[in-house]
C-alpha cells in the first residue's frame, strides 16, 4: 500500500469539503423534524411524506420529466444529423455560417436565448406551455449533442462506411447498420447531456413556460423565495440521490466495459 502524502491528504479533504459540504448539510437537514430549517429538533422522515402529498410539486416534476425526455430526444436526432453534415458533408455553401450558428447557443447567455425565444413565440402567436419549453430546450440541447457527436465522428474511420457501401449498402443503410451502432455511446452521452440540461434549466424555462406548465426548477425557485421549507430539502435530497445513482452506474459500467475489452485484446494477441 502506498502512503498518501500529507499534502495530498489535506488538499483532497479541503477539495471534497468545498464541493460536497453544502450538499451534506442539505441532506442532513432534510431529516430534521423541526419546521424551522436551521434549528435541529431530531430525526424524522415526515417531510418526505409531505412532499409526496404535495400535488403542485408532483405536477411540476411530471412536467419536467416529460419536457426533458421529449426535448433531449428531439435534440439528439437533430444534433446527430447536424454533426454528420458538418463532419461528412465536405465543403458546401454556407458551411462556416452553419457551424457558427449551430455552436452559438453554447456561448450565448441563457437570458438572451430565453428572451429571444419568448419574443419569437409571442410574434407567431404560439401559446406558452409545455410545447414552447420543449422547443426551447431542444434548441440549445441540440448544440451540445452536435458537439459531442461530431467529436466522435471526427475520429471515426471513414473506411468503415466505405466498406459498408462496398458490400452493398446504400448510404442510408450504411449509416443505420454501421455508423450509428458504432457512434451510439456518443449519441447516448449527448442524449444524457441534453436530458440533464433540460432537467436543471431555470432561466430559459421561466421565459418560455406558461401558467399551465411549471417545471420543477421554477417551482423550487419560487418556493424558496417565500422561505426555505424542509420539503424543498427533501426534494433536493431525492434529486441528489437520483443523480448520484445515475453517475455511479454509468461510470462503473463503462469502466467495466473498458477493462473487459482490454482483457480480451490481451488474450487475442497472445
Amino acid at each position: 500500500m502506498r502512503r498518501v502524502s500529507w499534502f495530498n491528504l489535506t488538499s483532497l479533504t479541503f477539495g471534497f469539503a468545498f464541493l460536497y459540504l453544502p450538499m451534506v448539510v442539505l441532506v442532513v437537514y432534510s431529516f430534521n423534524s423541526n419546521k424551522l430549517v436551521t434549528v435541529w429538533a431530531g430525526f424524522s422522515t415526515k417531510w418526505y411524506g409531505e412532499l409526496f402529498r404535495n400535488e403542485a410539486f408532483l405536477d411540476a416534476a411530471w412536467v419536467t420529466l416529460r419536457v426533458a425526455l421529449l426535448s433531449s430526444t428531439m435534440a439528439t436526432v437533430l444534433g446527430t444529423m447536424a454533426a454528420y453534415v458538418l463532419v461528412r458533408g465536405g465543403k458546401f455553401f454556407g458551411r462556416t455560417l452553419f457551424s457558427g450558428t449551430l455552436y452559438a447557443p453554447l456561448v450565448m447567455p441563457d437570458v438572451i436565448l430565453g428572451l429571444s425565444l419568448l419574443l419569437l413565440f409571442i410574434s407567431i402567436g404560439l401559446d406558452r406551455g409545455m410545447v414552447t419549453i420543449v422547443l426551447a430546450h431542444t434548441t440549445f440541447a441540440m448544440s451540445y449533442v452536435a458537439v459531442v457527436v461530431s467529436s466522435r465522428l471526427v475520429s471515426f474511420d471513414r473506411a468503415l462506411e466505405e466498406a459498408a457501401l462496398d458490400l452493398g449498402c446504400t448510404p442510408l443503410d450504411a449509416f443505420r447498420s454501421v455508423t450509428l451502432p458504432i457512434i451510439a455511446p456518443a449519441v447516448i452521452s449527448g442524449w444524457l447531456l441534453g436530458f440533464t440540461l433540460s432537467l436543471d434549466d431555470l432561466v430559459i424555462a421561466s421565459f418560455t413556460s406558461g401558467p399551465s406548465s411549471t417545471t420543477l426548477p421554477i417551482k423550487i425557485f419560487s418556493a424558496v423565495r417565500l422561505g426555505v421549507s424542509p420539503e424543498i430539502n427533501a426534494l433536493s435530497s431525492i434529486l441528489i440521490g437520483i443523480v448520484t445513482v445515475g453517475v455511479l452506474t454509468f461510470s462503473i459500467s463503462s469502466k467495466r466495459a473498458i477493462m473487459k475489452r482490454m482483457r480480451e485484446e490481451n488474450r487475442a494477441e497472445t
Binding site: 473506411a159 466498406a163 459498408a164 462496398d166 452493398g168 446504400t170 454501421v178 487475442a268
Partner: protein, 382 residues
C-alpha cells in the same frame, strides 16, 4: 522414369499476349484531378480476367486513386473505365460487382466475425441457409472456423487480415481490390500470407488488383506489375521482365538493387554496343536494341548479383574491370561488396555465401576483378 507420373504441360497464363483476349477492366485515357493536383494523368491500361495485377509505386503516385475509382469512391475527371465492356462511371459502389479489402481492414467492431463476413450477403437479401453456407465456406477457406463468434478486437492482427479477405470474397466479386493488404503484418507473417493470398486467388479464380509500395510483395504475388510514378504508368510487365528488362532507369532503380552507370554508347555490331563511362576504365560491352544511335547518352543498369568478384581476371567473361573494395556488407545469405573502379565509379556486387566461412578471403582495400557477361546488364536510354 516410367512409373513416375509425367507432369502435364501447363498452359502459360498470359492473356495480355493474346490479341483476341477481352480485358475485364479497361482504363481509357483516364485523368483524375483533385483541384489543381493531377493524381492520374491520361492513363490507359487493360487488366484481364483471373489476373493478379499489382499497382506498384511510391506514395502519392496515384495507385490508391486508381483503386478507389475501381471501387466507385472516386469518379474519373476525364476518360472512361470499362468493366466487362460497360462504362462503370454511373454505377454507385454498392451496385458494382467489385469488392475491396481495406488497408485498415475496416472490420465492423460491433459485429462478430461471422456477421462481418455475412454483412454483404445479407444486403443481397439471400435466404438464410444460403448465407450460412457461404459464410461457413469462407471461414473454412481462411481457416477462421474457431473464431466465428468472436468480435474483431478479440483476434490477432493476422486473423483480422483474413477476416477482411473473407468478407470481401464472400459476395464472389468479379474483381477484388486489395489496398496494401499486408502492410500491418510483421515480416514473417507477411511472407506466409503472400503465398496464402496467391493460393486463394487461384482457388477462387477471382481477378485480384493489389495496391502496394512493397516491391518484393508485388514481385511475389503478381502475374503482372504496373510501376507507377506521378500519375502515370512507367511500365507494365511480368515480374521477371520488370526486373530483368526494365524500361528505364526509374523502374530499374525502384525494383530491387541496381548499379546505374552513366555513359555514352557506341555501336560495335548487329546487336552489340560498348558503353564508355570513364576515361580510365575499359568500356562495357553490352546487348542493345537496333535503334540506338552512336554517341548517345545512356544508363547502363546491372544487378549486383550478376557480377562475379574474383581475385584474378577470369578468362571467359566479356566484361572484366579491376577495382578496390571500399566496403563489405555481410547479410548472412549474401555479402555485398562496394568496389571503386578507376575513375571513381562505385559498383555493388553481391555474392551468395553458398558454403560456410567462404569468400572471407577479400577484405577492405583489396584489389579485385569484377566480371559479367554481355547479356547481364541492360542499356537504357531514358
Amino acid at each position: 522414369m516410367a512409373d513416375k507420373p509425367r507432369k502435364l504441360p501447363q498452359e502459360v497464363f498470359a492473356p495480355w499476349e493474346d490479341p483476341e483476349a477481352k480485358p475485364l477492366i479497361q482504363f481509357r485515357n483516364v485523368t483524375k484531378r483533385f483541384g489543381e493536383f493531377t493524381a492520374i494523368d491520361d492513363l490507359t491500361l487493360d487488366i484481364y480476367e483471373r489476373e493478379f495485377f499489382a499497382l506498384l509505386g511510391p506514395s502519392g503516385c496515384g495507385k490508391t486513386t486508381m483503386m478507389r475509382m475501381l471501387a466507385g469512391f472516386e469518379a474519373p475527371t476525364e476518360g472512361q473505365i470499362l468493366l466487362d465492356g460497360q462504362n462503370i462511371a454511373p454505377v454507385p459502389p454498392n451496385l458494382r460487382p467489385v469488392n475491396m479489402m481495406f488497408q485498415s481492414y475496416a472490420l465492423f467492431p460491433h459485429l462478430s466475425i461471422w456477421d462481418n463476413i455475412a454483412f454483404g450477403l445479407k444486403r443481397d437479401k439471400l435466404p438464410k441457409d444460403k448465407i450460412a453456407a457461404r459464410v461457413e465456406e469462407m471461414l473454412r477457406l481462411t481457416r477462421l472456423e474457431k473464431f466465428a463468434r468472436r468480435k474483431p478486437h478479440q483476434i490477432s492482427g493476422g486473423q483480422r487480415q483474413r477476416v477482411a479477405l473473407a468478407r470481401s470474397l464472400a459476395k464472389a466479386p468479379k474483381l477484388l481490390l486489395l489496398d496494401e493488404p499486408l502492410g500491418a503484418l510483421d515480416r514473417k507473417l507477411r511472407e506466409d500470407t503472400q503465398f496464402e493470398l496467391m493460393d486463394i486467388q487461384e482457388k477462387t479464380g477471382t481477378t485480384f488488383v493489389i495496391v502496394t509500395h512493397d516491391q518484393e510483395e508485388a514481385m511475389t504475388v503478381a502475374s503482372r506489375i504496373a510501376v507507377m510514378n506521378h500519375g502515370k504508368i512507367v511500365q507494365v510487365d511480368t515480374p521477371a521482365r520488370i526486373y530483368e528488362a526494365p524500361a528505364n532507369a526509374y523502374v530499374a532503380d525502384f525494383i530491387g538493387d541496381v548499379n546505374l552507370i552513366e555513359g555514352t554508347a557506341t555501336r560495335t555490331g548487329e546487336d552489340r554496343c560498348s558503353v564508355r563511362f570513364a576515361e580510365a576504365a575499359d568500356p562495357i560491352t553490352a546487348e542493345c536494341t537496333a535503334d540506338l544511335s552512336d554517341g548517345i547518352a545512356v544508363t547502363y543498369a546491372i544487378r549486383p548479383e550478376k557480377i562475379l568478384v574474383t581475385a584474378d581476371r577470369p578468362a571467359d567473361r566479356a566484361n572484366a574491370l579491376e577495382g578496390q573494395i571500399i566496403d563489405i556488407g555481410y547479410l548472412g545469405n549474401i555479402s555485398t561488396y562496394h568496389v571503386e573502379l578507376p575513375g571513381g565509379q562505385m559498383i555493388k556486387a553481391a555474392m551468395t555465401n553458398s558454403t560456410r566461412l567462404d569468400r572471407r578471403d577479400f577484405t577492405w582495400d583489396d584489389r579485385v576483378w569484377l566480371s559479367w557477361r554481355e547479356t547481364a546488364g541492360v542499356v537504357l536510354t531514358e
